[in-house]
């Protein structure tokens, strides 16, 4: 899952990016509104974390412009949390709102909820028959036994599970699992798929040659 963090306060952006990376997200950062809008329009992020008070172009404008082309879930971060501001943000098309200072744990939970909702899943548990994916705990169970996956492997499983029965192209997987600064070697995805198959069974992820990968639920 790929997340964009638009925040001008360097130390805060750094902490957010690091936290999200440790949770297995592919993270891009932007330090002003213009850069944030450019990136948000260029990629299909799973969530954008957007500060309101930004230099060059403020968060409201970024949100308004982004909504003309994309439905990307947006979580607004702001130091101003009057009712007026919250209503304005939600009306402009933001999906959630978090006032500074906030807890990282809450931010992560809200991001998970946003991704789940945009995938159309109401519950945080995805049942794939033999295998269950708990998106809240970011854990995978096989025959009720927990399976150890790396963050990147989990992200791959989660993304395919949210869209089970549908073929996800390699490009889509690359876009959502790797950030700009990640070294995206062409066979990196194949390595992750191979590792997941080793842990969860050869037929857990199926290859549609020339198209991509799919998990049949």
């Amino acid at each position: 899952m790929r997340v964009l963090v638009v925040e001008d306060e360097h130390d805060l952006r750094h902490a957010l990016e690091k936290t999200l990376r440790e949770e297995g997200y592919a993270v891009d950062g932007a330090e002003d509104g213009e850069e944030g809008l450019y990136k948000a329009e260029s990629w299909d992020y799973d969530t954008v974390v957007l500060d309101v008070m930004l230099p060059v172009m403020d968060g409201w404008t970024v949100l308004e412009r982004l909504r003309r082309t994309k439905k990307t879930p947006v979580l607004m971060l702001t130091a101003r949390d009057s009712v007026k501001d919250r209503v304005r943000g939600l009306d402009l098309g933001s999906d959630d709102y978090l006032a500074k200072p906030f807890s990282l744990v809450e931010l992560l939970a809200r991001i998970r909820a946003l991704i789940r909702r945009s995938a159309g899943a109401a519950s945080s548990m995805i049942d794939l028959g033999d295998v269950q994916v708990d998106t809240a705990k970011r854990a995978v169970f096989q025959k009720l036994q927990p399976v150890e996956l790396t963050a990147r492997e989990y992200a791959l499983v989660e993304m395919l599970s949210f869209r089970r029965g549908k073929v996800v192209t390699r490009t889509e997987l690359y876009d959502h699992l790797f950030a700009e600064e990640d070294q995206t070697l062409s066979n990196l995805l194949d390595v992750h798929v191979c590792n997941v198959r080793k842990k969860l069974g050869k037929n857990f992820i199926l290859t549609r040659r020339g198209h991509g990968y799919v998990i049949e639920g």
Partner: protein, 496 residues
Amino acid sequence: MFSHSIRWQIQAWHGVLLMLTTAVLLVAFYGYERQQRVMRIDDRLRTTLMMVLPALRPERAGEPLGRPPPPMQAMDPLLDDFLGVFPFGEPPDGESRPPRAAGGRIAHDRERQHLKNLNESPIYYVLYDGARVETARSTNAPKDVPPHDERLDAGETFGRTRDGMRELLHFQPNGESVIFGTSLAAVDGAMEKLALYLTGIGAGVVTIGLLGGWWLATRAIRPIAEISAAAEKISQGDLTQRINAQETKSELGRLAVLLNETFERLHNTFEQQAQFTADASHELRTPVSVILAQTELALMRDRPPEEYRDALSSCHRSGEQMKQVVNSLLELARMDSGESVMNLAPNYLEEVVEDAIRFVEPLVEQRNGEIIADLEEINAMIDAPKIQQVVSNLLSNAIKHNPDGCKVHVNLRQEGETATLSVRDQGEGIPPEMLPHVFERFFRVDKARSRADGSTGLGLSIVKAIVEAHGGTLSATSTPGEGSEFIVRLPLTGKA
């Protein structure tokens, strides 16, 4: 509750005054009317007296007054009628009468007849001699008619009222006195009716007056009610309320306009205060967010020492930022409350400016810039540390906004009784629409850049407050792309 209402107070006073006025008027009218009626009775008595007086002349005193008169014309006993027989205006005294030898006898007979007729009329008479002994009386006279108390000159009359009777006393030249009287019963009856009638009128007038007063009081008080309703809402915290003042000419209209203006100012002050608080909390929330996020992240799992070091230095930077904001806020608050008093003392301004230049030297070196100073020697009443703060603040602003390696010009001139200090940079300038706001608290022309510099957005507000506390002015001009100039004008003698 009622007794405190202005309307009820007005109504009560109005009612009391109205009743008093009406009562005085009606009582006066009643008294006048009664007096008029008594005077009319007096006139009748006097007329009768004059008509029958010759019959009571001394030469007739010996004759029995009660003798039947010779048959003459039929006399109506009613007073009005016998006034008709003897038209008023006939001279009552003897001199103008026909000579006694010619027709006096006949005339006296006629008068004696009148005297007799009085017995049948409402008018009675009693005659007293000089020793106040009754000598004659009409048959209809009441029993106890007291004689006169004091003598008056002959020919004079005076009236008296006693026991429902009106009497006229007349003194004869020979010392006799005669009393003519009549009952006041008819007058009293009429006056009683009049009193009833007047009471009715009075009650009506007071009722109408009270109703009118109530209506007037309601009308007069309506604007006050509107004002107090609006004021009540405002006191409950709704500062957007205004009094609906339709007309602004009357006293209450002017009051409403005045109150509206006051409410407006209050509203603006509150909004500014709220804005200031929101800005201040925003300035503090950002560093708090950093500290919380960094510590939370650091504590999520075990990490190598350099990551803890990064987190701690990030927290330290945020703490420094908060310290600056808090110090600036406290300084501004002290200025606002007047707690921060300027210690004015004679100082050489150019020395203070030189100190400030030395203070910002490290920043100048860091930016590879240069400060070009052209300073006149000026002695002025200033608070030296505060003015040094002003100058170094303006200088570091100028350096920060200058491109690396550019110059900052500082000029100090004396113009009359004013010292003028200007600080000019060669930076990007300030857009004209932002220029009026640069002294506002937390205002930043370029938010990102100022944050990165560790600025609080309060520097120029503090500079302005210090300059104004000296009785001086601070102004700014700017040409975008060429640079900005900040000008401080200080009175040499301190507070002007």
